[in-house]
């Protein structure tokens, strides 16, 4: 007999209480050093307790349950620390894409390991020359018998240095238009020929990496989907990414999805109290707006997720969520800077950092969510063209063999 959602919820509540450590209130602590190992251990706990991969197929280590069970678990998990960082990108983007396009052997080899916290994954799509034009990639793979030989470079991969595998999009055919000459590979990060460099961000953090490939050998069995049809896989991966970053993935477990998804709402309240602005009419307008936006954000995730699940909204509607999440982050941090006033400029050096300092430093990185995971501009293209059906933008590289296309610096 199947367990109902309510029964599942009750059992989860008890298990969480006995097994998981308390939640980390401060979102910045979730970017601390050593956090990745903590999360691997937390994910292992979920696995051991039988709560890992609630919506993943049972055949590959998941529970195979409908999304309502995941929502119940996420609600119950709110008071506890969870492997938020494994949600995104490993579970909700990479593992999700493997579920859709991986071969049976690939799924058996990787999905259970992922759900045990043993494999962290990363997407290897963007390139230094490419920006939003992911299909315009120049990293190449040349076939040599049963292996492909990779050369080139990828960038903006989140936490690649501490990850184990990646899905890597490369060009395998230069004589066809750009979308038709790409192949998606499973790529082991730590192997000869792969060099990973961390990129320092404006706030001093090191979340992103650039990878350099020098004659890296990849077996043909690590091709995901068909050879030269990697764009189909990448498109699905991007759909999963939009849903995940927007907060609508069924594969995430726990409330915080995406970095800084809290949007600093709590930080704002904390700061307002710290600055004694509780009765300042203008500050009250700002905090009221920020808090209202949090409700809108949650409601929108529910509406769009349900719409996509029931087929009322096209799958590309995830772009609406991503766009809202990113623009909401822009606005919330702007509200924070405005609230902080003079305190945004300078602060007493203290540990832990004051809310003003956190906000002010976060403002440097405000566009992060608007750039990563498909820029706001790309989301607006998707919404207008694929959700609303407006005419496609003119692309100068359509139907032209890729070797003839104009590129940056070319």
């Amino acid at each position: 007999m199947t367990e109902t959602v309510d029964e599942f919820r009750t059992r989860a509540r008890a298990w969480l209480k006995d097994n998981m450590p308390p939640a980390i209130f401060d979102p910045w602590d979730r970017r601390a050093e050593g956090r990745r190992d903590v999360e691997r251990a937390l994910q292992r706990k979920l696995w051991d307790g039988g709560f890992a991969g609630i919506c993943f197929p049972a055949e590959y280590g998941g529970l195979g349950l409908p999304v309502e069970y995941q929502h119940a678990f996420t609600e119950e998990s709110a008071p506890y620390d969870m492997p938020y960082g494994i949600n995104l990108p490993t579970l909700s983007i990479l593992a999700a894409t493997l579920v859709d396009f991986g071969s049976h052997e690939q799924k058996v080899r990787h999905l259970p390991a992922i759900l045990r916290g043993e494999e962290l994954w990363v997407q290897l799509l963007s390139e230094p020359s490419g920006g939003s034009d992911l299909a315009g990639c120049l990293t190449r793979a040349d076939r040599d018998g049963d292996v492909f030989v990779l050369n080139g470079s990828k960038i903006w991969s989140s936490g690649a240095a501490e990850s184990d595998y990646g899905l890597c999009l490369v060009r395998t055919n230069w004589d066809v238009p750009k979308h038709r000459g790409l192949t998606m590979f499973i790529l082991k990060i730590h192997q000869p020929g792969v060099k990973v460099e961390q990129i320092r961000q404006v706030d001093g953090s090191m979340e992103f990496c650039q990878e350099f490939f020098d004659d890296v050998h990849v077996p043909v069995t690590d091709v995901v989907g068909e050879i030269d049809d990697g764009w189909t896989v990448a498109t699905r991966l991007l759909t999963h990414e939009r849903e995940a970053v927007g907060g609508g993935s069924k594969y995430t477990s726990g409330r915080f999805v995406g970095h800084d998804a809290d949007s600093g709402d709590n930080t704002l309240v904390q700061m307002m109290r710290g600055l004694g602005l509780e009765r300042d009419a203008v500050a009250r307008q700002l905090i009221g707006e920020a808090h209202a936006r949090q409700f809108v954000s949650q409601a929108l995730v529910q509406r769009i997720s349900r719409g996509v699940a029931t087929g009322k909204a096209p799958p590309t509607s995830g772009a609406i969520l991503k766009l809202f999440a990113a623009t909401n982050q822009m606005r919330t941090i702007e509200i924070g800077v405005e609230l902080a006033g003079q305190a945004a400029a300078a602060w007493p050096v203290a540990e832990p950092k004051t809310a003003e300092q956190q906000l002010s430093e976060m403002s440097l990185w405000r566009q992060g969510l608007s750039l990563g995971g498909g820029s706001n501009e790309m989301q607006r293209n998707i919404v207008s063209e694929r959700v609303l059906g407006m005419p496609r933008e003119y692309a100068a590289d359509r139907e032209v063999p890729y070797r003839e296309v104009k590129r940056t610096g070319g």
């Binding site: 309240v269 209202a292 919404v383």
Partner: protein, 284 residues
């Protein structure tokens, strides 16, 4: 009315009357229908919830059949929707005490206004007249704002659809104007606004239906998000229509009038943001 219990002669298509009323409100918005949506619903709901048998017998049948019109006089009564048309007033004092007052016992002065079909009046109710009734104006406000937001959702959905269609039909420089990226990106934003408005309104309606603990904040979140966004989005659609958008012949202005009035009444967005702040950091 869908906010009146079945025992009192009301009824609803689903468990929660407010969820059905929200659907009706959206339809009214899409058609910029004139009817007194908020006032009659608020008055009937309060009589059904708190009224004596006598009060119910006196007013509910008429309100339900549409023969009688109710209006809600909150605060100083300076701007009361359907005030000049109403047969009965629900009066909420500054202290939250509520009364049912027959229209004949109040002084009513019709006002001019932006909405061409939905009218307002100044209503002065003498001290002491009318019969006391329960409630304190808070649930009345929640119902009013939720219905109002739903109506505005209907307005902006209609305007959005109208504009999208227009942009496909209209050519400029040999291309449909829907092919211009700058305009496409604005429509993408507008789509996001419409979806977000629907979403937060539905959430607020569910919170009202469930009498959720944070219902006041949820409803105020809806109003403070939708209020000025709706008028701004309609203005953008006027802009996308070009010159025709500011002519009397085109319906756009009817929707803009309605959205502006909805923004300004039952608490401005600013007032609702302040309510949220009160929930977060205490009263000002």
């Amino acid at each position: 009315s869908m906010l009146v219990s079945e025992a009192d002669g009301g009824g609803s298509f689903s468990r929660h009357g407010i969820l059905d009323a929200v659907l009706v409100a959206e339809e009214m918005g899409a058609a910029v229908a004139p009817g007194p949506l908020v006032p009659t619903n608020v008055v009937a709901a309060t009589i059904s919830r708190h009224g004596t048998d006598g009060q119910k017998a006196a007013w509910l049948p008429g309100l339900l059949s549409g023969e009688l019109i109710g209006a809600w006089v909150a605060g100083d009564g300076a701007i009361v929707e359907a005030g000049a048309q109403a047969d009965v007033f629900l009066v909420t004092g500054a202290d939250g005490a509520q009364r049912i007052v027959a229209a004949a016992d109040a002084t009513v002065a019709p006002l001019g206004g932006l909405d061409l079909v939905r009218r307002f009046a100044r209503v002065d109710v003498p001290v002491g007249v009318g019969e006391s009734i329960g409630g304190d104006g808070e649930r009345e406000l929640l119902i009013a704002v939720t219905l109002q937001c739903a109506e505005t959702c209907g307005v902006i959905q209609r305007i959005f659809d109208m504009t999208l269609e227009y942009m496909g039909d209209r050519y400029s420089f040999g291309r449909p104007i829907s092919s211009y990226q700058a305009l496409k990106h604005r429509m993408a934003d507008n789509k996001m606004y419409v979806e977000a408005s629907h979403a937060v309104t539905s959430a607020a309606a569910r919170a009202v239906a469930d009498e959720a603990a944070d219902v006041a904040v949820q409803v105020s979140a809806a109003k403070s998000y939708i209020g000025a966004l709706a008028t701004e989005m309609i203005q953008d659609c006027v802009q996308l229509h070009g010159g025709i958008g500011v002519t009397w012949e085109h319906d756009l202005h009817l929707y803009l009038r309605r959205a502006t009035v909805n923004r300004a009444t039952y608490g401005t967005p600013a007032a609702h943001r302040d309510r949220i702040a009160t929930a977060l950091v205490g009263a000002a």
